[in-house]
Amino acid sequence: MRTAAELKFKESGIISEIDVSHPSSKRIIEHGFTPGQIIEVVNQSLFNDPIAVSIRGTLIALRKSEAFCIKLK
């Protein structure tokens, strides 16, 4: 299954679930990453990490290690 960490620049996907075993999962859900939401990678930094994604009309920067717990459809 693909995760948000594997999305390329300008690529979007629909969230299927959040891996709740990940230590950052609660924070990620709190920021609005919930199943059914569409996310898109809008920017990447020089080191390709963290990534900036759009969710619910807002841009959120997060590390790839954390984006990893966002599973996509």
Binding site: I18, E30, N43, L46, G57, T58, L62
Partner: protein, 678 residues
């Protein structure tokens, strides 16, 4: 306004996620006239205030730290959430005002939803409706109120529109509650589930489909236009909220460009960094001059008794060494405030996160570290924005290694000594080299220390970087100026008494017991006599006694007790080292700070025991190295104690950095001597 103490004033607490307009609302209601209060035993800080008199509402208003949800993660978040239930000194709030950004209801309604589910008495304040209006939309107060079963008020933070209605709503809420009595609050452990979070979001998605309405424009819009807006409405919102701000995306395609982004970041930070110095320097000189003049004014107009010197050298000079950094702190906070308010600072943190995470820090450590180049005190306070406790403590830990501006006068003197012929560009290169070296060594030290931080700070180690990138906007100068003013006030109130107090102790140590020294006065002007007396007094003072005790430590690094005394004096504030050297080496010139005279007497200084030259190239470079590492600033120690909540970290900082400084100086001095450089 005095109120009867037997009647409890109602407590209203403001809650809301970051960027929800909470602080703007607090400032509007309180008139920026607030007190800060700490949660006992922690560094979590609150602002409390009464309502402005014009609102005719007697209630205590508490501004709580920004939280996203009621499920705490870090220790500080836990404290913030617990205080919503019961603040230790203020009790349980009678009313919560929960702020939400009208454009971000889809995310921001989470917190008020949780609050309502927990049984709190909540008024939801919908902010930034002006930005929503640009999209041709508004939030329906009645529909949102009905969906959530609580009071809702839409306000505009900029125009203050809706504030009167909010006050009315608070009043009617209070009178309604007095009739029905308080609802009982469900303890927060009830909500302890991630599944609940997802469900709450689902409920919110259903609500926001209802609450947005097209904005009826003043001119009568024709039907087809209205229909169009409805269509836009449906496609734009759906369950996904809005699409991100177009302009923000365009700016980000440059500022967060894979390659240019980082380059621009370096340039922006470079400009910020240099302007701390170039813009502040003339103002700092002005403050310095003012206090030097005030000092001589007192000395020249009063009897030269110990009391006169207490006022002039103790109190006036001490106050001067507090205030001399104010211009720099003002400018630093002004620039950082503008960058933050524009939305860029969050991007900067994102860009630098990866390299900093390699040495156990976080993207959010960057601003505190940059501030550390001005002064460690505001820098440590700025570290509060780092949510992870270990990373926050570690950031505070390494901040003293940043080359703060108090070291600049010391470097300037030693560079001038090393390069006698006024080679300005050479001096510049050396100074640049010192800063570069101090940055590199901080990175190395941080990298090494990182291996031990788990043991050191006993804190959880789940590093995280999830940061909202707010939409770009033109910074509001008035709010930036208010914040700048408050930060500077905090610096003066916190560091001021410590620096002043320690200056007084040092004054005592350098002045007593030899109050009335005898000196040969023939052929000397009044001022020269005074300076000679000062030098004589210092030589037989308690401070020089202390200096002589540490002589055995000074010899291995090629220095003697006189430099030792100056190093001890530098504990009040590093730049005191220069004036203290001038005293110790009996600079008998007018004004006392004439650099060329000081340089000359340094050149002629000999080690008393051996008669060898004291200030060689090796020892001068050694001194620079010492100042690069040593933590010799008591205000920093005091603030570090306050911000870390204990003595452990400040003591470790003093011991580790000062012994590191000693070892590095030893290596430098003896290494240079070994290479034949004296």
């Amino acid at each position: 306004m005095r109120t009867d103490l037997s009647i409890k004033v109602p407590l209203i607490t403001l809650v809301g996620p970051p960027n929800s307009g909470k602080t703007t609302l607090f400032n509007t209601l309180s008139g920026k006239n607030y007190k800060t209060a700490n949660y006992p035993g922690s560094t979590v800080e609150y602002y409390t205030s009464r309502f402005l008199a014009k609102y005719n509402l007697t209630a205590e208003l508490l501004d709580s730290p920004g939280i996203v949800s009621l499920l705490p993660e870090s220790i500080d978040e836990k404290i913030s959430v617990e205080s919503l239930y019961s603040h230790p000194s203020l009790g349980t709030p009678d009313l919560l005002i929960s702020t939400v950004d009208s454009c971000q209801l889809s995310r921001h309604l989470l917190l008020p939803k949780q609050l309502i589910n927990s049984g709190f008495n909540v008024i939801i304040v919908v902010t930034m409706n002006d930005i929503l209006a640009k999209r041709g939309l508004k939030v329906s107060e009645s529909k949102l109120s009905k969906a959530l079963n609580c009071d809702v008020v839409v306000i505009n933070g900029r125009t203050k529109q809706g504030i009167e209605k909010l006050i009315d709503t608070i009043n009617s809420n209070f009178s309604r509650n007095n009739e029905t009595g308080k609802k009982s609050i469900v303890p927060y452990s009830y909500l302890h589930d991630k599944k609940d979070l997802v469900d709450t979001f689902k409920e919110i998605e259903e609500i926001i489909n209802e609450v947005y309405e097209p904005l009826a424009s003043k001119e009568n819009i024709n039907l087809s236009l209205a229909n169009n807006e409805l269509k836009i409405l449906e496609t734009k919102i759906s369950n996904n909220g809005f699409s991100p701000d177009e302009i923000t995306l365009k700016i980000d395609s440059v500022l967060l460009h894979r390659f240019w982004g980082f380059l621009i970041f370096l340039i922006v930070m470079g400009i910020t960094f240099t302007s701390i110095f170039w813009l502040a320097q003339p103002l700092m000189n002005l403050v310095d001059e003012l206090f030097t003049n005030l000092n001589s004014l007192v000395i020249n107009n009063f009897d030269p008794g110990w009391f006169t010197f207490l006022v002039s050298d103790g109190i006036i000079s001490g106050t001067g060494s507090v205030l001399v950094f104010v211009p720099q702190i003002l400018i630093l906070f002004l620039i950082l405030g503008l960058l933050e308010d524009s939305g860029y600072l969050a991007r900067g943190a994102m860009l630098i996160d990866k390299p900093l995470s390699k040495i156990g820090l976080n993207g959010r450590s960057f601003v505190p570290m940059l501030s550390g180049f001005a002064c460690a005190i505001p820098a440590m306070i700025a570290a509060r924005t780092i949510p992870n406790r270990r990373e926050r403590l570690f950031t505070i830990f390494i901040i003293p290694l940043m080359s703060c501006s108090a070291r600049l006068p010391v470097y300037a003197l030693l560079i001038a000594y090393l390069i006698p012929h006024g080679n300005a560009w050479m001096g510049g290169i050396i100074l640049g080299g010192i800063y570069l070296l101090s940055m590199i060594s901080s990175i190395v030290v941080a990298g090494v220390m990182n291996k031990f931080t788990k043991k050191l700070f006993n804190a959880d180690d789940t590093s995280s970087f999830i940061l909202e990138l707010p939409s770009y906007r033109i910074p509001k100068l008035s709010s930036v100026i208010t914040n700048t003013y408050n930060s500077s006030k905090q610096y003066i109130l916190r560091a001021g008494p410590i620096i002043l107090g320690f200056s007084l102790i040092l004054w005592f140590l350098t002045f007593f017991p030899n109050i009335n020294p005898e000196v040969e006065k023939t052929g000397l002007t009044v001022e020269q006599t005074q300076n000679l007396e000062r030098a004589e007094r210092l030589e037989h003072s308690y401070a020089s006694g202390l200096g002589k005790i540490i002589q055995p430590f000074m010899s291995p690094i090629g220095m003697d007790w006189r430099i030792g005394v100056s190093l001890i004096s530098a504990f009040a504030a590093r730049e005191v080292f220069v004036s203290s050297l001038a005293l110790t080496f009996k600079v008998t010139t007018e004004g006392g700070d004439d650099q060329s005279t000081l340089l000359n007497s340094l050149r002629n200084a000999k080690i008393e025991a051996t008669g060898e030259k004291l200030f060689t190239v090796a020892t001068s470079v050694g001194l620079i190295v010492f100042f690069m590492f040593a933590l010799q600033c008591l205000s920093t120690v005091a603030v570090s104690k306050k911000e870390t909540g204990g003595w452990k970290i400040p003591i470790l900082q003093v011991v580790i950095f000062t012994s590191l400084a000693y070892v590095m100086t030893f290596i430098t001095v003896n290494g240079l001597r070994f290479l034949g450089i004296q």
